[in-house]
């Protein structure tokens, strides 16, 4: 889905999910590793404050990915 949106719209798509090998297989170009399968963009088990902080960090990383020129599939770990 990520790949086809990018192809159809011609705009950068950053995918956030937990199992990185699957994102590489399906052809996502900009990849941000998520926290856990049931909560990719949060850490609700660590309390509200940490949860929001983690979500913010991941989204800021995603925004950075959107602004980064890449030539091939890239994993944004930080």
């Amino acid at each position: 889905m990520a790949r086809e949106i990018e192809a159809a719209a011609g705009i950068p798509v950053v995918q956030i999910a937990t199992i990185v090998p699957i994102m590489l297989t399906v052809g996502a170009n900009r990849i941000v590793p998520g926290v856990a399968i049931p909560h990719p963009v949060g850490a609700p088990d660590k309390g509200e404050e940490v949860d929001k902080m983690v979500r913010r960090q991941l989204l800021e990383r995603a925004l950075k990915a959107i602004q980064t020129e890449i030539k091939e599939q890239t994993i944004f770990n930080k």
């Binding site: 790949r3 990018e6 719209a9 950053v14 956030i16 297989t25 170009n29 399968i37 088990d45 913010r56």
Partner: protein, 349 residues
Amino acid sequence: MVAYRVVCYINQFFAGMGGEEAAHQEPFAKGEPIGPAAQINSLLGEDAQVVGTVVCGDSYYGENMEAAREKCMELIKSFSPDLLIAGPAFNAGRYGVACGDICAITGELLGIPTVTGMYCENPGVELYSTKTFIVKTADSARGMKEALENMARLGLKLLKKQEMGPAEEEGYFHRGIRKNFFYEENGAKRAVDMLLKKLKGEPFKTEYEMPVFKRVPPAKPVKDIRKATIALVSSGGIVPKGNPDKIRVSSAESYGRYDISGIDDLTPEIFESIHGGYDRVWANEDPDVVLPVDVMRQLEKEGVFGKLYDYVYTTTGTGTSVANAERFGEEIGEELKKAGVDAVILTST
């Protein structure tokens, strides 16, 4: 003669422990066949015996790959097996990756043959088909009987070191291995025969299959993030409460487009998760942990980026066919382009 020793690997579901609520189960082993392993044991007959079953939750494996791999390896090794049979995983993505991964590492470290089973669209196929024998199965447990029969048959063949025929005949996904053998007719004749068949529209079989890796060139980055409109898309199954478009909980054939203008936070009162492929407890307490509207809104207000697009697109990405997922992507992409959206953040579970 002493029977060959076989170890089976299965997930929490097939061990009878439960579905998503038990998916974080840490690896453990029992010195007996459990679940499908019992059927494998009887299919193997007198020549081989299932001496142990290793069980691990799918989410645990997916989220802690190195630790899970190490622990499962240890458990498998403790049974001194001659063969590992994992799954079958059908079209379950996390389970398929776990089965493929444990087979690959077991083959590498213990030097024993390994067999698993998956549906052709399982991501585990592309990742691991060269590192283990993956038997072709149906997309769901309805195909259990046939899958187990084929896995047991292939397993016995590997144990007895019988000659392995071509992947297509043996019923597994080809492992990228080519064997040399002699044809009566030379290459030029065979190529012309193939061409003639192609011209007549008759079926023909290539001798050199090309791998299919769908890739798209990365789009250009966004230049001015402060003016950019960003859309949220998710395959994590977050929908307005009541699931107004009746999106299926798995094997989705549709997606929804939902207005989030004026919404600062996804609360359990207005949104919920209908995804049938993960434990929904956290997502139902706070849907933002899957579809992060709250923090995106905050970043928008702080001026970190221009505007959060007024609509989110969501579907459930579990057991969903690749063809459908591609269609959703194309349609969503077209709409976002028309709407002038500059970039997408897509979350998946």
